[in-house]
């Protein structure tokens, strides 16, 4: 048997429990192959349990284990790093819990916080850095750890309560779809819920709309005084959060 054929058979055993492939690896290999299959599954289970701790708290250990088993069946790992394996798990949860949007949203928060934790290092601007900027030309550049997803439930409140070991609130649907913002400030991964208008402003700014153009959009939506005030408030919030890294 060639090395390539051996490795394909080994993969078939690990992923699909393929007994025929296992027999190709040797009549006496059974006990050893079971050790490797156990190691394979245990590593993936541990990875997902560590990455989705709050999601696990919310749905319960048994239901979470069932979801993990379904995910391992559905998505064999492909990357060299186990850090990549959690990325498809929210999609599996969305399939398993189609009527429970908060489950997928909790999983997205768990995942995004983990990714932000090891994202690229940057230096964020402070309020002092904003003096002397030509605001007619300035384009805001955001930290590369910034991530954004739609939010339809009070998942952020549930996540925070679980993290603080408090009784979580009941699920509530938001009056209108908002968004979750996740990023890293210093060494600490952060998140907060935002409303639609901040979401739209962020998406526009990340699409390289200049700050002056962003103000124009806000003025159209909110009127001259209120629009400018809201744009200024958002800029202040973003700088305070450590989201802005450049303005050129």
């Amino acid at each position: 048997m060639s090395l390539l054929a051996l490795q394909r058979d080994f993969r078939a055993w690990l992923v699909h429990d393929d007994e025929v492939a296992a027999r190709h690896l040797g009549e006496a290999a059974g006990p050893g192959l079971r050790v490797y299959q156990n190691n394979y599954r245990a590593a993936l289970i541990a990875c997902l349990e560590e990455s989705f701790a709050r999601t696990r708290d919310w749905i319960g250990g048994e239901a979470f284990h069932d979801a993990v088993v379904a995910h391992i069946e559905r998505v064999p790992p492909s990357s060299w790093t186990l850090d990549a394996y959690p990325r498809d798990f929210p999609a599996t949860l969305a399939m398993l819990y189609p009527g429970d949007a908060e489950v997928t949203e909790l999983a997205w928060i768990d995942l995004a916080l983990g990714e932000a934790f090891v994202g690229p290092d940057v230096t964020a601007l402070t309020m002092e850095d904003l003096s002397g900027i030509d605001w007619d030309e300035a384009i805001l550049h955001f930290t590369p750890t910034l991530d954004l997803a739609d939010l339809t439930t009070n998942a952020t409140a549930i996540w925070s309560a679980l993290a603080d070991d408090e009784v979580p609130p009941s699920v509530e649907m938001l009056p209108e779809t908002g968004a979750i913002l996740v990023w890293r400030q210093g060494i600490s991964a952060q998140f907060r819920a935002i409303d639609q208008y901040e979401r739209q402003a962020l998406l526009s700014a990340r699409a390289c709309l200049s700050f002056a153009e962003l103000c124009d959009v806000m003025v159209i939506a909110w009127g001259e005084a209120d629009g400018i005030a809201r744009a200024g408030a958002l800029l202040g919030q973003w700088v305070t959060d450590g989201l802005i890294i450049a303005t050129h």
Binding site: Y36, S78, W80
Partner: protein
């Protein structure tokens, strides 16, 4: 040629981060799992930089998959090279095993058959890795639970031929020798006498567990007497070599690992002064 480093070290594990960052741990070097730090940034990279400022660091990988029949992952090598350039490690090591094939990655150290075909493949992959990293590597003997037959050579003969053809060094895991010898019924002394002693640059000492039918390389126990005995047998046969205690699970207080390291120092008898 990989410069010898006759010191005694520990693996850097999360429960002991604070001890190492305070800079008061009596070790000659620290070994880290490369992949834990092959991330863009954040706290893990900062911890590694801070530890590196205090101790020499060895990078020990688990994901190169040096035995993959379809070759190495170029993106992985690029990431590892960036880490190597930043950390300037004592050693860069990985295992004589495979993890990945055709887009699937098992995240485990899977066994190879000791055939001429596998030897050719492993040597080609090591050449590529060493070219990409700009330095020679250490390759660690694995613990294994399956022994493929027929083989063209023993594991120690395979390691010897691999070193001769690629210029790589060896990371000799004494516990792995014991585990595989027990599981597959070969003589661990013959193994230790058979590896190319002049290529060994680092030693791992660890513990294992007894499974239902096989010994399992769990790294969740103190180094057992059987492994200490093998270490005492092989260490006089080697030149200057770095020794470390490898513990990955049920991690005890640092003082317990330092006590084991002190035992290794007594048995090994090497000091950094021997490097001069």
């Amino acid at each position: 040629m990989i410069t010898p480093f006759p010191g005694y070290g520990l693996g850097l594990r999360k429960p002991h981060y604070a001890d190492f960052l305070d800079g008061r741990v009596d070790v000659d070097f620290v070994e880290v799992i490369s992949e834990n730090f092959m991330v863009p940034g954040g706290r893990p990279r900062q911890i590694l930089r801070d530890v590196r400022a205090r101790h020499p660091v060895a990078l020990h990988g688990v994901s190169m998959s040096i035995g993959s029949a379809d070759g190495l992952d170029g993106a992985y090598l690029t990431r590892l090279r960036a880490l190597v350039d930043e950390i300037e490690p004592l050693f860069v090591s990985d295992h004589l095993s495979w993890s990945r094939i055709e887009g699937f990655n098992s995240h485990d150290l899977l066994p190879l058959p000791y055939t001429n075909e596998a030897l050719d493949l492993v040597c080609a992959n090591i050449h590529r890795a060493q070219d990409a990293l700009g330095r020679a590597m250490l390759i660690e003997n694995p613990s294994s639970y399956v022994d493929f037959a027929p083989a063209d050579m023993t594991e120690w003969q395979f390691l010897g031929a691999m070193c001769a053809r690629t210029g790589c060094g060896l990371l000799l895991d004494v516990n792995n020798v014991f585990v595989s010898a027990t599981n597959h019924g070969f003589d661990p002394i013959a193994y230790l006498d058979g590896v190319p002693h002049d290529r060994v640059r680092q030693i791992h000492l660890a513990g294992h567990s007894r499974g239902k039918e096989l010994l399992i390389d769990t790294h969740d126990q103190p180094v057992p007497a059987s492994v200490w005995d093998l270490y005492a047998h092989v260490i006089p046969r080697l030149g200057p070599v770095a020794t470390m205690i490898e513990r990955d699970d049920d991690i005890p207080p640092l003082s317990e690992l330092l006590a084991e390291l002190a035992k290794a120092r007594r048995i090994g008898g090497q000091t950094l002064a021997h490097a001069a």
